[in-house]
Symmetry: C2
Subunit: 216 residues, 2 copies
Amino acid sequence: MTALSLSPSLAAPQQPIDALGQIGVRMTFSPGEEIYAQDEDADMIYRVIRGAVRTTRLLSDGRRQIGDFYYADDLIGLEAGPVHRFSAEALGCCEIQVIRKSALRLYGDDGLKIERLIWAETARELRRTQEHVMLLGRKSACEKVASFLLDIARRFRGEVAELPMGRQDMADYLGLTIETVSRMVTQLQTDGLVRFLGCRRFEVRNATGLACLVET
Amino acid sequence: MTALSLSPSLAAPQQPIDALGQIGVRMTFSPGEEIYAQDEDADMIYRVIRGAVRTTRLLSDGRRQIGDFYYADDLIGLEAGPVHRFSAEALGCCEIQVIRKSALRLYGDDGLKIERLIWAETARELRRTQEHVMLLGRKSACEKVASFLLDIARRFRGEVAELPMGRQDMADYLGLTIETVSRMVTQLQTDGLVRFLGCRRFEVRNATGLACLVET
DNA sequence: GCCCTGCCTTGATCAGTGTCAATGCGCCGG
DNA sequence: CCGGCGCATTGACACTGATCAAGGCAGGGC
């Protein structure tokens, strides 16, 4: 990637995220395409405009862990070390705003505002990751899948929810195998807590029951 | 976040942590004593002066997850939400510097410097938490314990290492039971990778072999 | 010095999840 | 419409780590 275009004047934003405005360039990625690589220099940040993204990390023997899934308006690549510990890949077709961090210092006071915005997002990322630790460390397979589905379902406010990822991605996020994920999905359905319409669309049938599986 | 630094002329301390200097008050805590509680307002930050601290979170049914362990000069309580998701407890006797976040505003340019310091620590915390996710999601019991011991041993640079926590704390950090931790410790010892002198002191006997168990 | 207490270790068994293999289902191209 | 391909599901079985239970060990108080 070459030099990023700069738009010098920034208007005060309504939504904090808007502060990033049109800085940087927009790029589109096809399903599975890599946005950045594990161990790559971390001098860009990325904002999801449209679509969904996963961050993944591979152990040397091929075991895979997914760090998180990201949707419209989420920022990715905040890890703030010199290199990325995870790679980022498009789940489906998606559009991403790419911003060179070093460009931000050219924005003066707006730069400080943006800096604070990025910090706030980093803190949010930390909280999400801490939830993930809880999920991985102390929850059963069934609870993991229930938590995951409930999380996704919340984004659809009672409508039929659509999973942007396949079973393997769910498994690698939850620290399970694809077969176990599949069995738990079947079981939750048998118990009447959710109903699947095809393997990527579902609705919550018993929110209370599902919430019971998701201890806090 | 150093790439975003906007005021390079601020006198850079040798140890960045020194910027916190003597702000706030020092407190001492006895073994097991709570430094702050889960769900408590997060308006303080804490710096470990001496001793070790664990952060823990309880599920409503009593399952416990340890978020991380902290040692001298580490900052705790950076979660940056309105309330703490984890509680913090002293592992042994320890001394803690307690700083009210809102007080930092009064320090002007120094305040900004401190703000940056805190955010750099938050980013470091995020990276550590991401490592923890990898550990919990995709490593076997034996690898978890090996990783943990190697981490501790690094702080002692070849000397005999001392564990500041008991087996239950190790288990709750690693997402295992106390019995499994104990068995893995015994196994690593049988395999000649480590040697224990009492249950809290050990030395690494075969660093290469141990490192082989700790895939990256 | 001795006992008591709390933590750690070890053993036996069990449950939950992983592994391996077969089958099913849906989507897409021909 | 059909066949093939990729992903999901299901089943049988193995194995890791949890559970339950019984000692062992070490440190502190008396």
